[in-house]
């Protein structure tokens, strides 16, 4: 298989260098750019599979560059930004970015997100169309026939209880389940010390499906109410 090419854009050369080392270790080709204009040029002229781009850059700001690239290219774009506020994230995503990573980021997480985006971009396209007994939420796909979960197209190994919990939450995506209800419906017995038990399972599932379990994107705790699986 041909090596996938990733464009890394940041005005801080050391960061670009570090990221490219990590990505090259994972077997990707890396193209470096240091401002928005250069990024747009590369995105238009080279065969690029994914773009990692900073927001605050000289010449052309990252968001403007994304808008420009999105006019012609449909490829995953991940924003790297020191701005950590929700409003910044929403702005970035609404400009056409597929993911938003705040600085300072964990390099492993960055790599995981890159992989996730690339898998979805390259392999997931056909799965969506064929099967009807699949529940897809973002990176996650649950096969209700085989009771299997895939994240970015890769199977996730879950225990039976975990599978039941995931199935319940994914079938009712967005609905908040109190721990007692999860307990009753998964264990089929009256709730007893439900909160701890459910929470332990939730944390384990997170570790298997989330890129950064400490900041879950899909399996979320609704504090004081319950749990849910929802789009990020």
């Amino acid at each position: 298989m041909e090596k996938q090419c990733i464009l890394v854009v940041d005005d801080d050369k050391e960061i670009v260098r570090a990221i490219s080392i990590y990505l090259e270790k994972e077997g990707y080709d890396v193209l470096c750019a240091y401002d928005g204009v250069q990024a747009v040029e590369f995105a238009m002229s080279r065969n690029i599979h994914l773009i990692l781009i900073d927001v605050m850059m000289p010449r052309q700001n990252g968001l403007a560059a994304i808008l420009k690239i999105r006019e012609t290219r449909n490829l995953p774009i991940i924003v790297l930004s020191a701005k950590s506020e929700d409003s910044d994230k929403i702005l970035g995503l609404s400009m056409g970015a597929d993911d938003y990573i705040t600085k300072p980021f964990n390099p492993q997480e960055l790599v995981a997100r890159v992989k996730s985006q690339l898998r979805r971009y390259t392999t997931l396209g056909d799965i969506h169309s064929t099967a009807q007994n699949l529940i897809t939420i973002g990176r996650l796909t649950f096969d209700t026939d085989n009771h299997t979960l895939t994240a970015d197209g890769e199977p996730v190994r879950l225990t039976a209880t975990e599978t039941k919990i995931v199935e319940l939450l994914m079938k009712n995506a967005g609905r908040i389940f109190p721990a007692e209800e999860i307990y009753r419906r998964v264990w089929n017995e009256p709730a007893f010390s439900a909160e701890n038990t459910v929470m332990v399972h939730i944390r384990r599932i997170r570790e298997k499906i989330e890129i950064n379990p400490k900041e879950p994107e899909y399996l979320k705790v609704v504090w004081g109410i319950g749990y849910k699986i929802d789009k990020p």
């Binding site: 701005k83 929700d86 225990t159 109190p178 109410i225």
Partner: protein, 735 residues
């Protein structure tokens, strides 16, 4: 600039003067015309005649000439007709010599007595003969005017034209009034002098009253002619001048209006009653000659005065709104008030009461002393009016008091209201002003504070952003170093230390950012109803590993009924996480940590109590940013935990406080309880009985089935979980 303004001023004055002069002249002329017109037809005729006379320039046409002539005739006739009066003529007209006079005169009584100025009394003398022949031959040479009296009728010819004839009833020059006594044969004059019928008189007068002759006798006529001519010519000239000036005024109306404004500015300073008095005086001054039916000349000045006074007042009214407001009463009042305002409030009240009491006292004294009952009534009425005025004043003060106190209450409540405005004369106006300035001072201070906070946020945002970028590199390159396997072990140790510190730095930057945002109320909140017990249990479950790692016993005391509060779950999770972490970190090893939730008076109070490892005396305000109980700052944590807890709790609508008692540290979070959702659209409310947990040192949280079993040790949560959920163990078979 300066010269321009002075030029402007000059132009203003000039334009105004033009207006005043032209209008005055026109007014005078008009007044004269109107008065003449209304004085009757004779006056009009007289005016016409005088104009004619002035135009003709013949003194023989003047009234003075007619009067003089008639007097001479009467004097001559009485001299001859009355024996006793003999010689009176030459006494009355001693200078009437023919050589020097414009007159030649000859009178005789039946040829016995004669009277003449010709130098000869003999009728046969050449000059007298010529004179006596005048009737037939016309006036002698050098004379154009001839008067004949033949003892019966009187005939006057001027330039050969008969201007007066008692028989033919001719009177084109207006001699009738002068010769009425002579013309009336049945009148007193004829009765007194019946001999008049024996008399005859011839008199001729030189034309134009030649100046080379002594015209003393007829000088009146010359004077009158001159004054008539002067009057008409002067009048015409004045009229022309007035018109020219008026045209000039029309071209510079703006300048005049400017001057009017300046004038109004000056006149605005004058009390209204003074203006009224002046107007009244002018009116009286004007009315008097009118009432006395004085001539034009006497009426004119007062009329002009009245006219200009009225115009001046109109100008005043036009440019000064509510002219009547500037009067002596108001001035006195404002003077009194400004004087009063310098005093303290109590002094003001005292002095206004003293003024009132003094006025009432004086009136009472007058009431007692005054003899007439009408006066007594008036005094009593005045006293009542003063009482009412004082009460009104007092009521005004009370109203203002109410407004002032209301405003103070509003300010306390934090309402932003427009500044308080009192009437300037209100006794509380200075207090209101003070309050307004306090209010604006407060709002300025608040604004400044808000601005400072915003700047602080901006600073922190920028700084944290600036720190984050190099931190990204640090973390990334530490990560790369970590992957180097060939490095000696001690270097790897160093790298681990670096990694830990970099992580801590990362957390701190995030915490600083969050706490500064929360403490200034700049965070986005999503409040929703949630169950506090659940929140606490979820938090504990989430932190299970660190709870297990700490050698502490955790005791949970939660009520059975779910306690609903309206708050932002994500933020409150952070609050409890920080509080529990704080408890875990600073507790004395082996001691117990209590988490209690109680509901009282609609308030849910969550307390997290622990026994401190360090002495808590002289505890600084630990909720301040970066303040830590131990001061050594060696332990993990940013020092922001309690600060985050406090600012988040307050941002979410709760209150947060910390208390210490000896070594007992207690953090309390309280929220108002809200009613739970309706049962039909909700899962059956979870019961919290049997859910108080206890965990002993070195053990995880263990569920306790009842209060009695609370102290029962040994039942590990791990075991319990495995018992309930065998699949959840790490040895679970994977799907």
């Amino acid at each position: 600039m300066d010269t321009k303004s002075t030029n402007h001023k000059k132009a203003n004055v000039l334009s105004w003067l033009c207006f005043v002069l032209s209008v005055s002249i026109l007014f005078t002329v008009a007044a004269a015309a109107v008065q003449t017109f209304f004085s009757g037809t004779t006056a009009v005729a007289q005016a016409k005649q005088s104009l004619q006379t002035a135009l003709n320039g013949n003194p023989q046409e003047t009234a003075a000439f007619r009067e003089d002539v008639s007097q001479i005739v009467y004097a001559a006739l009485t001299d001859l007709a009355d024996e006793e009066q003999r010689g009176s003529f030459s006494k009355a007209y001693p200078n009437l010599k023919w050589e020097t006079s414009n007159i030649l005169l000859f009178a005789q009584e039946d040829s016995r007595d004669t009277l003449s100025n010709t130098g000869s009394t003999d009728p046969e003398s050449a000059r007298n003969t010529r004179l006596l022949q005048s009737y037939l031959m016309g006036a002698p040479e050098g004379y154009n005017y001839m008067l004949l009296f033949d003892g019966d009728s009187l005939v006057i010819e001027r330039d050969g034209v008969r201007v007066y004839d008692t028989d033919a009833m001719i009177d084109s020059d207006g001699y009738r009034t002068y010769f009425s006594k002579l013309a009336d044969k049945d009148g007193e004059f004829w009765e007194e002098y019946p001999d008049l019928s024996d008399l005859s008189l011839v008199m001729v007068v030189a034309p134009n009253l030649r100046a080379d002759r002594d015209s003393a006798v007829l000088s009146d006529a010359a004077n009158e002619l001159f004054s008539l001519q002067a009057l008409w010519l002067g009048g015409a000239a004045a009229l022309v001048l007035a018109l020219v000036l008026f045209v000039f005024y029309l071209f510079s109306r703006d300048r005049k209006a400017e001057f009017d404004r300046q004038l109004a500015q000056v006149s605005g300073e004058v009390w209204f009653e003074i203006k009224l008095l002046f107007l009244g005086w002018a009116a009286w001054f004007c009315a008097q000659p009118f009432l006395e039916r004085a001539s034009v000349r006497e009426t004119l000045f007062p009329l002009l005065l009245l006219f200009w006074t009225l115009l001046f007042l109109l100008n005043d009214i036009r440019y000064n709104p509510r002219v009547y407001r500037h009067n002596s009463y108001r001035s006195a009042k404002s003077w009194y008030l400004s004087h009063q305002m310098k005093k303290r409030f109590q002094q003001r009240m005292m002095s206004s009461f003293a003024l009132f009491a003094a006025a009432e006292g004086i009136l009472f004294w007058i009431f007692r002393v005054i003899p007439s009952s009408l006066g007594a009534w008036i005094t009593a009425a005045a006293a009542a009016v003063i009482l009412l005025l004082y009460l009104r004043h007092f009521a005004g003060i009370l109203t203002d008091f109410a407004r002032l106190t209301d405003r103070i209450a509003e300010m306390k409540a934090g309402a932003d209201a427009p500044p308080l405005t009192f009437r300037a004369e209100s006794a509380l106006a200075p207090a209101a002003e003070d309050l307004n300035s306090i209010q604006s001072g407060i709002s300025h201070a608040v604004e400044d504070q808000v601005r400072a906070e915003r700047m602080k946020i901006e600073l922190i945002t920028n700084v944290s952003h600036d720190i984050k970028t190099p931190l990204t590199s640090i973390i990334n390159y530490i990560g790369l170093l970590r992957q180097e396997r060939e490095l000696p072990e001690h270097v790897q140790d160093y790298i681990e230390i670096l990694a830990g510190k970099a992580d801590r730095l990362k957390k701190m930057v995030q915490d600083i950012f969050e706490v500064s945002k929360a403490s200034t109320g700049n965070i986005e909140l999503h409040p929703e109803p949630l169950i506090l017990q659940k929140l606490i249990q979820q938090t504990l479950a989430d932190m299970e590993e660190s709870v297990a790692a700490a050698h502490l016993a955790l005791r949970l005391d939660l009520p059975q009924e779910p306690v609903y509060v309206l708050t932002d779950g994500n933020r409150m999770y952070r609050v409890f996480q920080n509080l529990i972490r704080n408890a875990l970190q600073y507790s004395l090893e082996g001691s117990r940590v209590f988490i209690q939730l109680t509901v009282q008076d609609g308030t849910a109070l969550t307390q997290i109590k622990n026994t401190s490892r360090f002495a808590l005396d002289n505890l600084p305000d630990v909720t301040e940013r970066f303040v830590r109980g131990d001061d050594s700052r060696s332990t993990d944590g940013s020092g922001l935990g309690l600060s985050i807890a406090k600012s988040f709790t307050e941002a979410c609508g709760g209150s947060f406080f910390i208390s210490t008692d000896a070594d007992l540290f207690c953090a309390a979070v309280s929220f108002p309880v809200i009613p739970g959702p309706q049962p039909e659209d909700q899962e059956p409310a979870p019961q919290y009985e049997n859910q108080n947990r206890q965990a002993e040192a070195s053990h995880s949280i263990a569920p306790i089935h009842s209060e009695e079993q609370e102290t029962q040790p040994g039942e590990l949560w791990q075991e319990a979980r495995e018992a309930e959920d065998p699949e959840a163990s790490p040895s679970d078979q994977l799907i």
